[in-house]
Structure formats: structure tokens, C-alpha cells
Symmetry: C2
DNA sequence: ACCTGAACACCGTTCAAGT
DNA sequence: ACCTGAACACCGTTCAAGT
């Protein structure tokens, strides 16, 4: 990549990070280009879709999560590993307003640039769940795709309650324990 | 109301119903006006916001739910009443694509024209939950607002899996039973 | 009292022209 | 090879003019 192109790329990433943090994942692309000091066409050249830009912004965080997932697979007890992982998913997916919704619509959409990230979360969740189920700590009938969707749905709900920072934790506890008395 | 105004009102409702069913709750308002055979200004006169139009479209269904809720409060067992109610909430909130999201953002927004509907669901859920908790069937620590949000989140998730009609039921079962073995 | 639709604002996306 | 920004499309919302 040419030196000026690389600099533009980096500037766009930085501007997008700010914009997503401030306005959510549907921040104006034109404003991002303006903040980065480039034309709107340059933004589209580097990032053909909003999701491509979002993916680039999230990339580091996704890599971190992936590594944490690998680590958790080697730790005990299995149930605690799973719970730690699910908390990490919620934390990540609430990073920007609108992110949980974007991820939800990418779960089954192979054409989305976020599909890879979703797939990683899906695979890691499946492994951690299977291990916890094998250890007898978690219901054997639970499907991992349902679990991940519910956890992402919790992230989405929590996103809309910025005044209630404990909400996600309470809802995750609800999911883990269930409504029914035992 | 003048006769022609009333007719326009009815036509707009009908056109909105079709549009929401086809394109989801963010269907084009201009197209709704065009389908109804009125100017866009007339739509705005009758329904100053998209939510006002949506509320009018949903009104009958909300009334039905309210009545069902009242009836369920008189039926036993309390746990089954609660479960039936939650299923009804999911069915209603998945009626149009985008509805669950619209309702979620109206839960704490008193200025939303959907706030009243949300409040009804909240109040009915609280009563049915309290009764089931008193009967000892449901965890006493669960907060009714969290429960309703999770159920709406399930509706939102299911909305994005049109090919999997059993998804909402599985996720509700997950919420009711919890992940952990007992 | 109610309706119409032009006008304005805003944003996403493409592409011809420029370096 | 890369960048720019005008141009086009589309939608929401307001409001002056009309009946």
C-alpha cells in the first residue's frame, strides 16, 4: 500500500473509532471521512461497507477475545470458564451502541464482514459449553447457538439501559439460574 | 372529525398495516401516504410521529393482550399463567419486523407514544410474576422489569431467525429453566 | 378544518475527473 | 494507484398555499 494510502487508512480507523464511540455504529460515514480529512470516496475505497469499517475497528478486541477463549478452555471449573466467557462476550458486544444489533444480523449472514467474528464467538461458545455440559454442570439440551444469541440479546438490552450498569449481570444470572425454583 | 378526515385516517391505518407487515416498522412513510392516497402532510397531521402511527396500528392487539392478562390473573396454576402470558408477549412483539426494537427503546421513554403499551405489559408482567413468586414456583429475587426485557429480547432474536419458528420457544424454555443443572 | 406537495435537510453511494 | 467531491437517489419533516 502506498504511504499516503496507509496514512489515510489509519486516520479513517481512528475517526471511525471516535464516531462509533460517540454516535454509535450508525454514525455518519461522511462525518467520519471529514474528521479523517479525506474524501468520502476514499473511505469507500478502503472500506466498501459500514460493516467492513466496523470489523476493522473491532479487530483487535475480537483477537483479544479469541485468545481469552482459548485460555479459558484450559481452565477449571468448566462452568466458571463458560460464565467468564459469556461476560466477556457481553462486555465486547456492548462496546458501541448498535453493535449488538449489527452482530445479531450478521450471525447467519455469510456475506457480512462481521460473519467471521460471529463465527469465532460461535465456535468458542460451543466448545466452552460442550465442556461444561460434559462436566455435568450445564443442561445437556441447551444449544450453543441459542445460548450465544441470548447472551447477545442481553448485551443489546443492557445497551439501552446506560443508567443501570448492573443490568447485564442480573440478566445473565437469570439466564444461568433460570426463573424456576429448584 | 370531518368525514373525509376520518376516511383518510382509516386509509392511513390500513396502508400502514400493510407496509409494516411487508417492510417492517421502518417502512417509508411517504409510501404509506401514497398507498393511502393522501399527501404526506395528511399523514403527519394524523400521526405526528412514526410511533404514533405504530401505536394506532397495534392498538387492538394491545387491548387483546391486556384482557388476556387480566384473565390469566384469575387462572391457576400461577406459573402456567405467567408462562402463557410471556408467550403472548413474544407473539405480539414479533408481529412486525423492528417492533421489538421499537418497544425496547420505548420502555423507559415516557415521551414515546408506545410507552403506554409498554407500561401495560410491565404492570401485567409484574402482577403475574408476583403471584407466581408468592406461590413459590418462581425465584423470588427476579425483577419483573428484567424479565420483561429478557422476553422482549427473545422476541427480537427470534425475529431475525424467520427460518427457525421454534427458536423463541427454545429460548423461553432456556429462560424458564436456566442453564444450570439442578 | 383539513389537505397538498414543494422545499429543505440529511445521508448513503457511485463515478468521472484529477493527481 | 489513489483521491476528490459533484451528482444522484432516497427519505423524513415542515409549512405556505389552496379548498
Amino acid at each position: 500500500m502506498r504511504a499516503d494510502a496507509r496514512r489515510n487508512y489509519e486516520r479513517l480507523l481512528e475517526a471511525a473509532r471516535e464516531a462509533f464511540a460517540g454516535q454509535g455504529t450508525d454514525a455518519s460515514l461522511e462525518e467520519i471521512a471529514k474528521t479523517a480529512g479525506v474524501g468520502i470516496g476514499t473511505l469507500y475505497r478502503h472500506f466498501p461497507t459500514r460493516q467492513a469499517l466496523l470489523e476493522a475497528v473491532l479487530h483487535e478486541g475480537i483477537t483479544d477475545m479469541d485468545q481469552q477463549g482459548e485460555r479459558l478452555l484450559g481452565e477449571s471449573p468448566a462452568e466458571e470458564s463458560l460464565e467468564t466467557w459469556l461476560r466477556a462476550v457481553i462486555r465486547h458486544n456492548t462496546r458501541y451502541r448498535g453493535l449488538a444489533a449489527e452482530l445479531m444480523s450478521s450471525f447467519d449472514d455469510e456475506s457480512s464482514q462481521l460473519f467471521g467474528s460471529c463465527d469465532m464467538m460461535r465456535a468458542t461458545s460451543a466448545q466452552l459449553l460442550a465442556r461444561a455440559q460434559h462436566a455435568g454442570a450445564i443442561e445437556s439440551r441447551v444449544e450453543s447457538a441459542d445460548l450465544l444469541r441470548m447472551v447477545n440479546a442481553i448485551a443489546w438490552s443492557a445497551e439501552q439501559m446506560p443508567d443501570d450498569p448492573g443490568a447485564a449481570d442480573r440478566m445473565l444470572a437469570l439466564l444461568l439460574h433460570g426463573l424456576r425454583t429448584r
